[in-house]
Amino acid sequence: MTTDINAEFDITNNEQLRYIAAQAADARVNVELETEGMTLNIGPQHPATHGTLRIVARLDGEQVISAEPIMGYMHRGYEKLTEVRTYPQVTTLINRIDWVGSFANEVPFILAAEELMEVEAPPRAQYIRTALFEMGRIANIMLFLGDMAVQLGGVTAIFYAFRDREFVLNQIESATGGRFHPNFNRIGGVKDDLPAGWIKETKSSMQKVRDFCDEMEDLVVGNEIFQARCRGVGIIPADVAMAYGLSGANLRGSGVDWDLRRDADSPLAWKDLDWKVWTHPDGDSFSRYWVRLQETREATYMVEQLLDGLPAGPVMAKVPRIIKVPAGESYVQTENPLGAMGYYVVSKGELTPFRVKIRTASFSNMSISPWLLEGVLVPDIATILASLYFILGDIDR
């Protein structure tokens, strides 16, 4: 077999050298059987990329020789757009970055602005923020739990995910007014207090989420075919995961015990809770699914604890009517559903931010895909991409 030497081969990479040597050995054997590789363009419109990610894969039969993700088909220029919006207006915009668990998008930006203004939201507001943050995480990861099965061909799980996700979204809606885009955070607190009866309903919906998690353990995790497709596929060793800047469940699935909710000093209420960071030593697609499943269940307990310990008091600190953030710069990172998300806010003391740099988790998580997709089979592309779990809006913001 021959292969196109002009394709991007890095001669410093031992594995690629080994591959070329193997190819040369094959070529000696199969001199008469001349074959050539094929370039397969996966995306930008393809069911596996749920959005507009494009992957250019060079194939040898069904084996991927090299794969290159091409991002940016949905770039919306959010970093630039924030510069012409006042601070309260920015939250409307950044809701749309990771559109599935959008409450969590607002929080790091608001925290960065609060840090610059040196205001701190009252404890009740912090608890409400944390509870909604975790509910956003649940809503987000439930989608993943169903979607991963769909990528592997089991269609039924996604319907259960959408059905039970509704309970969480309803609660988010009744508290904030928005199912997908709550826009509930304000600098110095949250917009409103919780509606009457909300706590009780939320607790029952958390129980439904846990039932859903049990169902997924039966239907998906316990399925032999699912395990055969996921175990040992797309293994990321811990050092490689850290070198590529992975975060979130992708990192914890590789056995790295790193969670910003616990490890970073945050004004949010995580420090008051009794919870556990789940990790899995294997680093394969299965462990990433498993970690996310456990995190969803853990998050439901966290929400219940938050609602039990909800302190009384106001939900808004005293802030001026027209918000001008003093000059300075700050960077705040939180553990979002997809991984670490950070906002670097530079202010010149005006109504609008001077510059905002957004660090999104999916962008870094996707950057490992060329390394990870090299040498796998075509069916594993879907498995690996699904297990990395990206949201296109989180890649191209």
Partner: protein, 340 residues
Amino acid sequence: MNPLISSFLAINPPYWVDTLAKIGIGLVAVLLPTGALVYLFLFKMMSFMQSRLGPMETGPYGQLQLLAEFGKFLQKEDIFPSKADRFVFAAAPFVVLVSTFMLVLVLPGGPDTHFVDLNTGIYFAMAVSSVSVIGILMAGWGSNSKYSLLGGIRAAGQLIAYELPLVLSVVGVVIMAGTLNMKGIVAAQADFGVWFIIPQIIGFFIFMVAVQAELTQPPFDMPVAESELVTGYLTEYSGMRFLLFFIGEFATAAVFSAIGATLFLGGWTVPFVDANAEIMDYIGPLVLAAKMVFIAFLIFWFRITYPRFREDQLQRLAWKFLIPLSLFNIVVTAIFKVVF
């Protein structure tokens, strides 16, 4: 002699009338169960299993949805991809359908109700069921699309791999019945006392797995794996040609279910009723249809629940597990046949 017609009408019509009637009945025999399976299982059972209702607006409980779908497909534009091999592209769905229609020929619906009574019935069925591979390969190659090509090649590899366990699982039944004739197999089950599913439970299991793979339904649907290959060899098809493929897929599911019912569940016979009674010519097809729906239910149940295998895992399952198991089944069956 025209058993099919004469049994219903008690007349002996000329050859051309007989042939036309057989074509008409053949169309009904293929399309009616297909529509029933699509509505019952794909529209309704799948929806109920996925906690939704499925079609509800078209007719009572969405019963006219099939007609709506049919109309929709007819209206769609018939697209040939540029640079496609037009003849191969156009012919592929018909090749697939031909294999299905030929399968139906040998199915007996009663002691005298059948299209043709071949002495090598099940052998013929196994042979013509492989013709669909050619159609799928034609579709994969003729579409001039990389996804289609990958899907077509996968389908070819898969169907060839599962042809073997399918045939070998049938061999056990043939040994027990002592005949290749489908009616003979049914009669042998009536004589034997119990349906062959009891003594041939391993054969039935292998048959079901192999049929699932032959139909390229989940968990063996890599040729059309929609999350990897868009829809594999179907990617470039639209409108009527896609509908033909779709009918082919579900008609084959119906026919294979009927073959399974004939081989393992006693075909048209009902326990405690004489298999050769004249009444069986009339209720036999209905009994067969009921058994067919049961086996199709199993097929669709797996389809809806399981995720799909990977290529290499599928081949490993066929060559390392199913084929040795079916050979073992044949040996055991042969020993019992000789000893008892």
